[in-house]
Amino acid sequence: MAEYDRRNHGYRGGRKRRYRDDEDYDRRPQRRRYEEPPVVQVRRQLLTVAESAARRVEDDVEGIAKSVVENYEDEEMRDTFINIVLDLVLEQPMKIPFVTATVLVAHSLKLELGAEVLNKAGNALQRYIDTGAWREVKLLLRFLGILQPVYEGEGIFPLLEELFARAVDLQTASSEDLLGLELVKIILFTIPYVMSSPATGFETQASALLEKTDIIASTPHALVDLVNTFSPEEDKPAAGQSVISLLQTQLQEEASRGWKLNCLPRPWNDLRDGETGEPKSFYVAAKVAFPQITVPSPVQNGTRALFPEVYLSVFASQDVETVPPTSDIASSLLRDVLVDTINLLDFNRVATAKFLIDVDCYFTPHTFVKRATPFDRMRDLESQDLAWKPEDVAVDAVFSQLFQLPTPEHKLVYFHALLTECCKVAPAAIAPSLGRAIRFLYNSLETMDLELSHRFLDWFAHHLSNFGFTWKWSEWIDDLELPVVHPKMAFIIGALDKEIRLSFAQRIKGTLPDPYRPLITEGKEKDTPEFKYMAEMAPYSKEGQELMQLIRKKTSDDELQPVIASIEEQAKGLGVEDPKVPSTDALVTSICFVGSKSLSHVLSCIERNKDRLLAIGTESPRARCQIITSVMEYWVDQPGVAINIIDKLLNYTILSPLSVLEWALSESIAAGTTLAKTHVFEMISATVGKVTNRMRQIVAARTQPSLYEPQLSVLGETLARERTDMQALFKFIEDSIISVATGSNDELMERGDGSGDLPEDAIIRQWGRRWLRVFRRKAAVEESFITDALVHANPVGTVAPPTGSSTAADGDLDIADAE
């Protein structure tokens, strides 16, 4: 265990080792002189159970159980065993069948030990059910389900039935219910493990349960379309099925085939009885009762919001099968346990990557072909039943999370880092899988959910930055002929921009085949973009230069005024409608130019001229819009810098979120072509994200359990106000884009011959639809978040209880104490 190791290292002495090589000349006293104490051995064996393909896992399973039973009197041994068993169940779910096998053997040798394990597992399960930690419930049920042969009567089934009854209650109460669906999913994911356990004769119970879950699992939830990788509107056949409906069908199929469950390991089948050498039977000894569990009614959901899940495979459309098809239950079982592993172990991506690469250790031997089998060889192997490419299955699971809608459990960058780590651990095996995944995603760009195409773009560029920016760009050369607004072209342009942001233009140019080079313009290679007022012919060039010099010299705001006034005076003379627009242009362009050296330079320039910039917004909305235009134009070749500056201007409240939206979706909509620019999507997403984050913070403050009047009313009002603002923001997006999506945008209609039939017009309308889908989803998710959160909040008017009784929730305390 990590803690244990660290403690030992602490005794290595205080000297800081400067070089790793010192390890070789380590002069620590040799500790390995003694036999390893049994408890240390059990700990090590248990933690690494099934990890090595070189050892027979059955031997380890038996060895561990025997050691523990032999040392049963040693309390440390018992605690170590029980704790690590449960920890592994909750943290390394791929090991559950093996860990549970040790408990099965231990139980058969020593009933008391089995009882102790069950007792502790039952307590844990009860706690997780009470707090609504459903993944943990699922994993503990899996563990308890494999122990089915040790129970009296029907064992785990009554509990599953009770959970199902709760699901029915929830479903009956509301057609939008998701918690009931989650319970059904848990029940369904438990059944195969019970059926793969050494227990026999439960087919009737399993089938009865399956019959009942069918109606709930097979009815599509209203939100499924919203979280689909592919919008059914754009690509009906590609749209994935929900995880739960797939699983229901697969289980029914499996039931009709006598529960073969080919991929699930059954280490208990190969255990021999020590004395007779016969296959070990687990129907010895007296049976015990299934732990007593009370399921509250109604059950609660924990901290994580629930959404329907859709099954995505980036390898599904290949001509050679490398991952299980959705008709095979292995697709669900493998995916489920891999996804849990990925999400549970986010705190050590190196270990997670190792588990993913070793996936073939945790399933039956004929589930996978040999590691790193080339794709072309898979074709020859196709005649063999059931053999998938382990790398593809693993990588597929990571992508399913990277592309989880509305949001994955962890930050996107975790999945980037995990894929990078996999590539580092086994480059020859993983890199080709990623290559095929990239090709699939690239070819799906036109119909994929827009937010997901953006995640793909971001991952792609970040991934390449970890591997010397090498990619076979040559295979997409033909696509360079496509119009600029084509999704593939937008991807290429956007990806190169992102690569440059993580590196620099010249470097990226060097990685590209010739036909791509014109995309890296001269402007992109310049560190400091031109200052347009340097050109004598430019309007207001004299004043622009003067202003820039003053800003560079950090002069006081008063000294800027005459120059600004002079620009406005001239503009008036020229009949400019809003003279503040050209003066703002000169000011902001000067700030950008003077601050072009780095982000902190431009920030300090903004800081020094903050009051003037703030005043612009209140005086003239058009001038405020000009602030954005000036920034975007100055940094036109490096949009990353521009949107960074816009982001900071939002923080200073020099810009309002609405002004950014107005700029992008109205001022510069350019007949909808702007929607094809990846950095515009990035900017709008970031701006909306700022608003929704703030909203969520207010909701968090408003829903604190210890919040009472008068603060309650104050926060209640803030919440109502901000909620209205947020709704207005989403409304603005909807109204601006809907005209593009339906083709009724004035500019769009005036393009070309006005028929709306130009080839690009169809693409632009599609961009509109894809944008709409993303922001409608965001709006719906935020609304439901607020509504759900407020259900449990103190209503306005609640006053503090008379005495200072502690209101801290018990569950929270435990978690805090744990660390």
Binding site: G14, K16, R135, F347, K411, V413, H416, A417, G640, V641
Partner: protein, 174 residues
């Protein structure tokens, strides 16, 4: 969400041995107390020390990568004490402790500008810490490096001086 207080594999979001070791050395006699003290300084830390950057890596590049873990509150480039040029490290400050931890887990040990960077939890930036503490103004590690590192000014500066002197002497002798 684990039941128990320890994980079955090590966590990457812990302060490095460098930080723990540094504190320990300073007060060797009261090891246990100090362990706790030093951790207290990091309990809500929102700042990261980022090392092994190339001297040529820009604020924008750092921003682009580190913003993937959360909004950045402040970015302080490490500078050569004398030249005031970047010398291969920086401090990144987030708004929340969680973002800083996520950064340790997901960004530390990955590449930026094609170098594996190092991230360590830091109790917080203070004026003066942005400067290299090496004899010649940069970071100490760049004084005595025997390997050539083009991203960090070539050979260690101390060796570099020596090499230059030797070469000059050799030239004179000829």
């Amino acid at each position: 969400m684990s039941l128990l207080s320890v994980n079955t594999v090590d966590r990457l979001d812990r302060p490095s041995a460098y930080y723990v070791g540094k504190k320990k050395r300073r007060y060797n006699d009261r090891e246990d107390d100090v362990q706790e003290d030093s951790m207290a300084g990091l309990r809500d830390a929102t700042t990261l020390y980022v090392g092994n950057l190339s001297f040529y890596t820009t604020e924008e590049q750092i921003h682009e990568l580190f913003a993937k873990c959360g909004e950045i509150k402040r970015l302080v480039m490490g500078l050569d004490r004398f030249n005031k040029t970047p010398c291969g490290f920086c401090f990144v400050e987030y708004y929340t402790h969680q973002d800083a931890l996520d950064c340790l887990k997901y960004v530390g040990g990955t590449k930026l500008d094609e170098r594996i960077i190092r991230a360590d939890l830091d109790p917080g930036f203070e004026e003066g810490r942005q400067y290299g503490r090496g004899k010649s103004g940069g970071q100490v590690r760049d004084e005595y490096r025997e390997e050539y590192d083009p991203g960090r000014g070539g050979y260690g500066r101390a060796y570099d001086d020596q090499r230059r002197r030797e070469e000059e002497e050799y030239g004179q002798g000829r």
